[in-house]
Symmetry: C2
Subunit: 164 residues, 2 copies
């Protein structure tokens, strides 16, 4: 059940992220600036902008689900340029995650995972999910949240955690 | 094994956070400003400063370990005012987490958890850990990272994930 719960939670957090983007768009409208400003906003000049934070959060979730179930991840090219594009990317990823059942992750903890960037090396599924997927996923969603928050969007803990 | 792995990973991330504070102090020294400036730095005027992000990350980890093992969490008063204080707080929390063994979390997923802020309500341990502890913990460590990064500290993915 562990990995399925984690993948389910990734989907829930991506739905929360989608709602933060809506709040960002509403804030921009209220203040009279283009909501697309957020897409390229970042916290440091050499850190990913919002667009890449959202893409990376989606990918962290997608690859966790794919690798840990032994599937090949679908390709989602990084072509987004607007908030609407990012919302569509999130929706695509959430739909993919919702296609999984608990049984798809049977034995996932013991499965060897070999992402291409490991250059032929592999790690146990349990190590991959706890030490790589979860921290990376939350890094990108929290940084997306921080970019919006830093730029004046009124977000709080209830937005972060989502509906209970 | 699931909850023990998560608590172990919390300890690992807190050790990474400790190293980010060291990098922050080194950066301040190099630039000739007081490292204590970071303690009260924040990304938005109505968001927690670094001091509270670190305290909250420690507490998220401490309460997860305590609640899910059926123990009473030790009190760690929020009295920190310097980076050295924050490093001591992290060390105290990491030492507490290291006192747990996998067997302490036997049945943790099914255990009912009733944090005081839930006002008498309770949730299953598995729900608590995946939907509350993990997102809150990573929220606070990532926001601490973002505060340092936003203020010029050179941190990257290897710092975030820590030694493999």
């Amino acid at each position: 059940m562990g990995v399925f719960d984690i993948v389910t939670q990734f989907g829930r957090m991506l739905e929360n992220l989608d709602a933060w983007l809506d709040k960002g768009a509403a804030h921009a409208k209220e203040k009279g600036f283009s909501p697309e400003v957020f897409v390229q906003s970042r916290l440091a000049p050499d850190q990913y902008a919002l667009v890449q934070q959202v893409q990376s959060a989606c990918d962290a979730a997608k690859y966790a689900a794919a690798y840990l179930s032994g599937q090949t991840a679908p390709s989602h090219p990084d072509t987004e340029t607007t908030l609407a594009d990012l919302k569509a990317r999130i929706a695509t990823c959430v739909a993919y995650l919702k296609g999984f059942k608990a049984a798809d992750f049977t034995g996932a903890e013991e499965r060897r995972v070999a992402p291409p960037w490991m250059g032929g090396q592999s790690v146990r599924g349990e190590t991959y999910v706890h030490r790589i997927s979860v921290p990376n996923f939350y890094f990108h969603v929290t940084t997306a949240y921080a970019i919006l928050r830093h730029n004046g969007v009124e977000l709080g803990k209830k937005d972060y955690l989502g509906p209970s």
